[in-house]
Each structure stands twice: as structure tokens, then as C-alpha cells.
């Protein structure tokens, strides 16, 4: 188990290094001079040069990569070209929006998907099953930003139950904060909940057709007992994988949804940074999101080992 853990950790570290190189190189060739953007239409060449020097834009590629990557390790993401504040601070602030949003959406999606998936699987072939599956087909097919637009139209502009966007801030109270995240979280969660419902259902159906369910039934367990005691935990293994993958989709999907609801999260930050040529912010945010994806998948791998005794020993 420890050996397995260490190996996964090593491969995690390698993935992170590879990802950082890809991100750095990709953004290194970006055309556009942050200094020019910052100084605007009437800037003069000497001013530009002064600023470039100030921003540390004049080193070699390798020097700049090493200083960036080295900084990442110590939590120092550098200084934003445009905001002139430490990138780590900016990201830290934005994380308090993006992370709760992703978690909120994940929670919503799980709260919807688990009962719905179990319900549909336990009534396979019934109208319930058909209805739930039909709904998930729609949920998967609906573009979530469109759904978000419709929700804003109905709930914010017409009914005025929610504000149309923006973030009240956690200092305005937990409820107020959650309220500003509610519509975005619903929009983000809808397709994920639909996918998760389908996975839950089919995984449960697969498990229900396994031999050991028959064994359990032969012991005298009712259909429901067999499902709750034996099928569910086994069915969770693929569901866990999908949830791990979904976390990354939620973080990335937030890039669009944060723009619909103008939430001050990582997604908006990365868009603003791109248009401002604030490369160091783009690099850091993309790296952070990739880091989150890799780490979550790593955590899911470890979670398997906890859930499944077979993995505990074999590895």
C-alpha cells in the first residue's frame, strides 16, 4: 500500500512537471507584449523598455521557466503584470469563489444523481426509469450556458428571487454567499448530474446482474436488501471515477459559467488575464486547474484502494 502510494506520488509529480512545461512553453510563444498593453496607445519606446525590465520579461526562456516553476513550489506565483499584486493572493481570493462553486455544484449533482440513479435502476423498465432517463438525456444535451441564460431571465430578471450575478462575498454572510452561487451551481450541476445519474443507474444495473447478488438473494435477502447491502457499494466504484473526472469539468466549466454570472472566480480571472496579456496569471491559473485535476484523480485512485480491498493488497 505504501509502495503503491509512493509510486503514484512519483507519477503525480512527473505529470505536474510535464504539465508545467507544456503550459509554460505554450504561453511563452504568445504574441503580445504585456508592457504595451499596460501603457496603452500613446506609450513611448523607452517607457515600454523600462516597464519590461521591471516585469522581468527580459530573461532567457529557461531562466524564466525555472524561476516560475521554482516559485510555484514555494507558493510564490510571481507578481501579476497588470494588477501588480502577488498572483498567489489573486488566486487565493478567486479560489474562495471557484472552489465553493465547484463543490456546491458537485454536491448538488450528487444529491440529484444518487437518488435518481438508484430510483431508476430499482424500477428498471418502468415509467419512472423512462422518465428519469429522458430527463437525463435532456440534461446532457442542454448547453449549460444557455440554461444559465434562461435561469437568469426567469429567476433574476422576472421573478427577482436571485441576483443576476456577481458575488455577494462571504463577508456578507454564508447564506448570502451561497445564494449568489446558487444559480451558477445549478447551471454547472445540471449536465453533470445527468451524466452521474446515468452512470449510477447503469453501474447499479450491472452490479445487480452480478453473481453475488444472486448469492445474496439465495441467502434470503429481499431485492431491496440485496441492492442496499451488496450492490450499492460495488456500484460506487465507477461512479467515483466519474465524480473525479467531473470535478475537473466543473472547474473548467466554471470558466464559462463564471462569465455568464460575472462571478469573480478563477475562470473570469483567466479571461481577463488573457485579454490583458497577463501571462503569469494565465500560466498560474491554468497550472492550478491542471494541478487540481491531477490531484483529484490521484485522490480518486487512493479512494479506490480504500473502497476496494482487492486493490489494497494487489498493489
Amino acid at each position: 500500500m505504501l509502495r503503491y502510494f509512493l509510486k503514484r506520488l512519483l507519477s503525480l509529480a512527473l505529470s505536474l512537471v510535464a504539465a508545467s512545461v507544456v503550459i509554460f512553453l505554450a504561453l511563452e510563444v504568445v504574441p503580445g507584449d504585456p508592457a504595451a498593453y499596460m501603457l496603452g496607445l500613446n506609450a513611448q519606446e523607452d517607457t515600454l523598455n523600462a516597464l519590461r525590465e521591471q516585469l522581468g520579461l527580459n530573461g532567457t526562456i529557461l531562466e524564466r521557466y525555472l524561476s516560475w516553476a521554482g516559485g510555484l513550489l514555494t507558493g510564490d506565483f510571481g507578481i501579476s503584470y497588470t494588477y501588480r499584486t502577488p498572483v498567489s493572493e489573486m488566486i487565493g481570493d478567486r479560489l474562495w469563489v471557484s472552489l465553493p462553486l465547484a463543490l456546491y455544484a458537485l454536491t448538488l449533482s450528487t444529491l440529484i444523481a444518487f437518488p435518481a440513479g438508484i430510483w431508476a435502476a430499482s424500477r428498471r423498465g418502468s415509467y419512472v426509469d423512462t422518465g428519469v432517463m429522458g430527463a437525463t438525456q435532456l440534461g446532457v444535451a442542454i448547453p449549460n450556458f444557455w440554461f444559465a441564460m434562461l435561469m437568469v431571465l426567469v429567476f433574476a430578471i422576472n421573478l427577482r428571487w436571485f441576483s443576476a450575478g456577481g458575488f455577494a462575498g462571504w463577508e456578507a454572510g454564508f447564506l448570502a454567499g451561497m445564494k449568489s452561487l446558487t444559480l451558477p451551481a445549478i447551471a454547472l450541476a445540471l449536465p453533470q448530474a445527468s451524466i452521474l445519474t446515468r452512470v449510477m443507474r447503469s453501474s447499479l444495473l450491472d452490479t445487480l446482474s452480478e453473481d453475488f447478488i444472486r448469492t445474496a438473494r439465495a441467502k434470503g435477502l429481499t431485492r431491496a436488501q440485496a441492492m442496499w447491502r451488496h450492490a450499492l457499494r460495488n456500484a460506487l466504484i465507477p461512479v467515483l471515477t466519474i465524480m473525479g473526472l467531473q470535478f475537473s469539468f466543473l472547474l473548467a466549466g466554471a470558466i464559462i459559467i463564471e462569465n455568464v454570472f460575472y462571478l469573480p472566480g478563477l475562470g473570469r480571472l483567466v479571461f481577463q488575464a488573457i485579454s490583458a496579456r497577463d501571462l503569469i496569471v494565465v500560466e498560474s491559473v491554468v497550472m492550478l486547474l491542471v494541478f487540481a485535476v491531477i490531484v483529484v484523480n490521484f485522490a480518486v485512485d487512493l479512494a479506490y484502494a480504500l473502497v476496494d480491498p482487492r486493490l489494497r493488497r494487489r498493489r
Binding site: A19, L138, A252
Partner: protein, 276 residues
């Protein structure tokens, strides 16, 4: 053949898909109104006899725009799926043929690496580097599709490599490459077709999303995602602008997903045997 029409998913799927594919194809030769000509005087008309779906903020016919937009969506998603398949399938076949070897390891680690970048992040980076365009959207979605197909192919091929007919082919002196092409590929084709439809629908959603945030097709190319983005400020007084392109995306994706489900059922020999 009649079996096709009893499948609950296949029939609606193929109908929806055909409708939008036909709309895209027809738009190549004819649209009700030329979408490159703006008619400001006719702008923002609600649906009426002359314009069944109304007109947009520049007075263009929305039905025509949706037809032309279907072309963009379908082209982008189709090429992206093509990229994913053309690059991903051989990689998956090669990895499976060399299971446990260095090649397999390298391919799978590269897959993991790409998987760590959700397609939107790839798009963000590509856009940051090369600017926004339909081509870059294709590349972003296509890159993301590669590991999807590589993994699927490898997984399916691995189980096939344990089949005795592979051993029989090896006894007949055939090499790994030849076996991959002659025996493995035809037997994973069904899976690839089904996954292809799914990725196709995901591609349409992704293209719409990218165009919506301005990272996709650029004007004057009509695109559903951009139509939605453009309509956003007018949704309160001209809801038809947002309604129809959204529905077009929804129905196309729905159609493709249903088609994929239907194909999966129809192409799965296990299920087919059970039904006949």
C-alpha cells in the same frame, strides 16, 4: 432492418440528426435568406410568415442563420472527432499491441497528461497563443478527443488480444501491426462508431461553448454559440433570438446522443442476440 425502427433511441436519434445534417447540407446550396446580407431595417422581428423564426439584431433570417450555423457546428465537431480518431485509434492499437511496454507506457502517460487539461483549458491556451477561430476550436476539441479514442481503443483491444483468434492469427505468422489492422480494428469499430457519435455531440456542445465565450468561430461565419452570445443582451425583449439557437444545439446534441445509444444497442451482439 426493421429492428432499427423498434429501437426507442435510434429512431428519434436518426430523425433529429438527419434533420440537422440535412439543414447543414441544404444551406450549402440554398437558404431562405442570404445571411451575409444585413438588413438593419428588418432587425429583431419576431417570428412571422416571412421569417418563421424571426430576424436577428442585423435583420438576418434566424432560420437561415441556424441552417448555416449547423454547418459550422457539424464541421467543427466532425473534424474534431476525425482528429481524435485518426490520432487516437492508432495510438490505442499500438499501446494495446505493446501492452506493458515502453511504448504503451509513453502513450498512456501522454494521454493522462492531455486528460489533465479539460478541453476548455486547451482552448483557452490555444486562443491565448493563436487567437480565436473555428480552426483553433477544432484543434482544441480534437486534441481533447485523442486520448478519449486512444483509451477506448486500447481498452477494447486489450480484451481482444486475449482472444484465441488472435493467437490463431499469430500461429498463422501474422505480425502485431497486421493483426491490429485485420483483427482488432474491425472488432473495435462498433465501439468507435458509438463513441464517435458521443464525442460528436460533445464536440457540438464544446464548439457552442467556445463560440459563446468568443473563442470559437468568428464572424461572418454563423455559429450557434455566437448567436446565443449575441442574443444575450436582447433576451428580455427578443427571446426568440436566444430560444432557437439554444433549441438547435439541444436537439442536435440530443439527437446524436440518442443515435449513439441506439447504435450501441443495435451494434452490441450480446444485446442483439438477446432480442432476436
Amino acid at each position: 432492418m426493421s429492428l432499427l425502427f423498434y429501437n426507442r433511441s435510434f429512431l428519434p436519434g436518426i430523425i433529429l440528426t438527419t434533420v440537422f445534417a440535412a439543414a447543414a447540407l441544404i444551406s450549402l446550396v440554398w437558404v431562405p435568406y442570404d445571411t451575409t446580407i444585413l438588413n438593419i431595417a428588418e432587425k429583431l422581428k419576431p417570428p412571422n410568415l416571412a421569417h418563421p423564426l424571426g430576424t436577428d439584431q442585423f435583420g438576418r433570417d434566424i432560420l437561415s442563420m441556424i441552417m448555416v450555423g449547423a454547418r459550422t457546428s457539424i464541421a467543427v465537431a466532425l473534424v474534431a472527432v476525425g482528429i481524435g480518431m485518426i490520432a487516437g485509434v492508432p495510438l490505442g492499437l499500438a499501446a494495446a499491441a505493446r501492452k506493458g511496454g515502453l511504448l504503451d507506457e509513453v502513450i498512456m502517460r501522454m494521454n493522462d497528461l492531455v486528460f489533465a487539461f479539460p478541453s476548455l483549458l486547451i482552448a483557452v491556451m490555444i486562443t491565448a497563443v493563436f487567437g480565436a477561430s473555428a480552426l483553433n476550436a477544432i484543434i482544441a476539441i480534437g486534441i481533447f478527443n485523442i486520448p478519449v479514442f486512444a483509451r477506448l481503443t486500447r481498452g477494447a483491444a486489450l480484451t481482444l488480444w486475449n482472444r484465441e483468434y488472435i493467437l490463431a492469427a499469430r500461429v498463422a505468422g501474422k505480425g502485431q501491426a497486421r493483426i491490429s489492422v485485420e483483427h482488432i480494428l474491425p472488432n473495435v469499430a462498433n465501439l468507435l462508431i458509438v463513441q464517435g457519435t458521443i464525442q460528436f455531440s460533445l464536440g457540438i456542445l464544446a464548439e457552442a461553448g467556445l463560440s459563446y465565450v468568443g473563442l470559437g468561430a468568428q464572424p461572418p461565419t454563423a455559429s450557434w454559440g455566437r448567436m446565443l452570445a449575441d442574443s444575450q443582451t436582447m433576451i428580455s425583449f427578443a427571446p426568440h433570438l436566444a430560444l432557437f439557437p439554444g433549441l438547435a444545439i439541444l436537439l442536435t446534441v440530443l439527437g446524436l446522443n440518442l443515435l449513439g445509444d441506439g447504435l450501441r444497442d443495435l451494434l452490441d451482439p450480446k444485446l442483439r442476440r438477446a432480442r432476436t
